[in-house]
């Protein structure tokens, strides 16, 4: 039987980052991944000879090199990865587009301030106070009590339209809870999107994953793909061994699981979660990816890299009653980052919307395909009303198309209900009642590419290194 110091479940961002830390310091580590591709929730694939990212819009948390305490620079130091090797290009600009107001923002926070001053002059002082609240919040603490972010924001912002516009990007890019967020999570997201910013590698997520795997290999880490964990054998409150899908058995002193909280519990031979926390997240998404024969600037698409849109009177972030919520969403144009290496010859538009897992799951194969096609057209129509006018015909210029639904996410990531942001309740310490089993990744609490890596690093440091 193979025996490891640490077994890591899942070759996503958090698992690989944890693996690098542990292998670097001499631990015998193995990452087990059921899928054939690495990346977890942030993976990549090819279809009809064209390369796709599973879900990457942009990497949040972008800061300039000098700011050492910033999460991006911290993870680079911890993983001993050179910043240049990430090959990041900054966004040109992004926008929060609601029917009654429009706010542009970029990696220079002053732009958002001036935009709020333009659209909501009587609210800008309150917004500045909110920024101070965010900056003074100590988000390095692991255990802070739940506080409603809506209430904290309402204490500073008296205009519900502005309130919704602030929440829209923060929720879409990392809230596992409906309609409101924990203020601590709000702070993390506010910093990562507004105070820090967006960047993207020209090659998308592939480059980042390849870089991480190269580093993991260099330090002697072992990786087994197509190798799922079927069961964790628990004896007297300790994980004694892992049983692989093949039936093979493996031993590990410590197990770090990025599979998710209910998912990890379900792997164990003893239920340690009970009913209360066991609920998988309720928020799931669909995304359409359209590829056009020309770059988006030929369609008159301006500088916007990401557009967070909402056409309803109030912005609602919740599981929709229909298969897809057409009122709001996120449009991503990967062309619009300041790449130095090259330009996109093909234009890509990704549109993300909230989706109803139960409905998508209920459709039989044939009906599923029909619904996908119908919703694809509705989503495009809804997003188009927030896109620039063009004399070109999008449908004639489209050369490729793909779309994922909550069930696609579930099929490839084994994340229950396709809930990409995981369970509503986070377990920030990573500790479980099983003495040598710890959580990392989405359900530990940090989200996004940088957040996931930070989660893997922090959990490896806390539970497997000392």
């Amino acid at each position: 039987m193979d025996k490891y110091d640490v077994a890591i479940i899942g070759a996503g961002m958090s698992g690989i980052a944890a693996g690098i830390r542990l292998a670097h310091f001499g631990k015998k580590v193995c990452i087990f991944e059921r899928h054939y591709a690495p990346g977890g929730l942030n993976s990549f694939y090819a279809l009809d000879g064209r390369k796709y990212d599973v879900g990457l819009h942009a990497m949040t948390n972008f800061v300039k090199p000098g700011i050492k305490a910033a999460p991006l620079n911290r993870i680079l130091r911890q993983l001993r990865i050179r910043r240049e090797d990430l090959n990041l290009s900054e966004q040109k600009r992004s926008r929060i587009a609601f029917r009654e107001a429009d706010l542009k923002f970029s990696n220079d926070f002053e732009l958002l301030l001036s935009e709020i001053d333009r659209e909501f002059p009587d609210q800008v002082d309150g917004f500045r106070e909110l920024v101070e609240d965010v900056k003074s919040f100590d988000d390095s603490r692991i255990d802070y009590p739940y506080e409603s972010a809506r209430k904290r924001v309402q204490a500073r912002i008296a205009n519900s339209l502005l309130e919704d516009m602030i929440f829209c990007p923060l929720m879409y890019y990392g809230s596992s809870t409906e309609e409101d967020m924990d203020f601590g999570q709000f702070v993390v997201m506010f910093k990562s999107i507004f105070l820090e910013g967006f960047a993207r590698p020209f090659d998308g997520i592939r480059g980042i994953i390849k870089l991480l795997l190269k580093r993991y290999r260099e330090v002697g880490g072992i990786r087994r793909m197509n190798t799922g964990i079927a069961k964790i054998e628990v004896v007297d409150g300790r994980a004694e061994k892992l049983i692989l899908d093949s039936g093979e058995e493996v031993e590990a002193n410590v197990i770090l699981s990025s599979a998710g909280l209910p998912e990890t519990n379900a792997l164990c031979s003893e239920d340690w979660l009970g009913d209360s926390d066991a609920q998988p997240g309720t928020l799931s998404f669909t995304e359409t990816i359209s590829t056009f024969g020309k770059p988006m600037k030929d369609f008159g698409w301006g500088e916007d890299a990401i557009v967070f849109f909402n056409g309803a009177e109030r912005f609602h972030y919740r599981c929709p009653e229909n298969a897809v919520d057409l009122e709001s969403g996120v449009i991503c144009v990967p062309d619009n980052f300041d790449y130095t290496e090259s330009e996109f010859s093909e234009g890509i538009v990704r549109v993300t919307c909230l989706a109803n897992y139960d409905l998508w799951k209920s459709y039989p194969e044939f009906k599923y395909r029909e619904e996908k096609e119908a919703w694809r057209q509705r989503i495009w129509k809804s997003a188009k009303s927030f896109m620039p006018e063009t004399s070109l015909d999008y449908s004639k210029e489209r050369i490729a198309f793909d779309m994922f639904t909550p069930t696609t996410v579930e099929r490839y990531t084994w994340r229950k209900r396709g809930a990409i942001y995981g369970s509503a309740k986070k377990h920030r310490t990573g500790v479980t009642p099983i003495s040598n089993l710890f959580l990392c990744g989405t359900d530990q609490g940090f989200l996004g590419i940088v957040g996931s890596m930070l989660s893997g690093i922090a959990m490896a440091n806390a539970h497997a290194l000392r």
């Binding site: 310091f25 000098g66 050492k68 305490a69 911290r74 911890q78 001993r80 922090a458 440091n461 290194l465």
Partner: protein
């Protein structure tokens, strides 16, 4: 190993952990954290590298001994010399 050599060992480790830090004029009697932008994660790395590279164990209760270059030298030099 002399205390100066020991300080250089610590500086070499810091250079590897935080390549963008300016290390040429670190004051030996001033806390490292006051001069360099090192957080608790970085200090953990100094401890881990001492173990990995040199076989030196620093128990968690004694992390405080690594506050400045001088204190590092006082604390670590006997440990280095005990190795040979």
């Amino acid at each position: 190993m002399s205390k100066d050599e020991c300080k250089q060992v610590v500086l070499d480790i810091i250079a590897e952990i935080a390549p963008d830090e300016e290390l040429s004029d670190v004051k030996p009697d001033v806390a490292l954290r006051e001069q360099l932008d090192l957080d608790s994660m970085d200090f953990l790395d100094i401890v881990m590298e001492l173990r990995k590279k040199h076989g030196i164990e620093v128990p968690e209760s004694e992390y405080g001994e690594l506050v400045s270059l001088d204190s590092c030298a006082e604390y670590l030099t006997p440990k280095f010399n005990a190795l040979v």
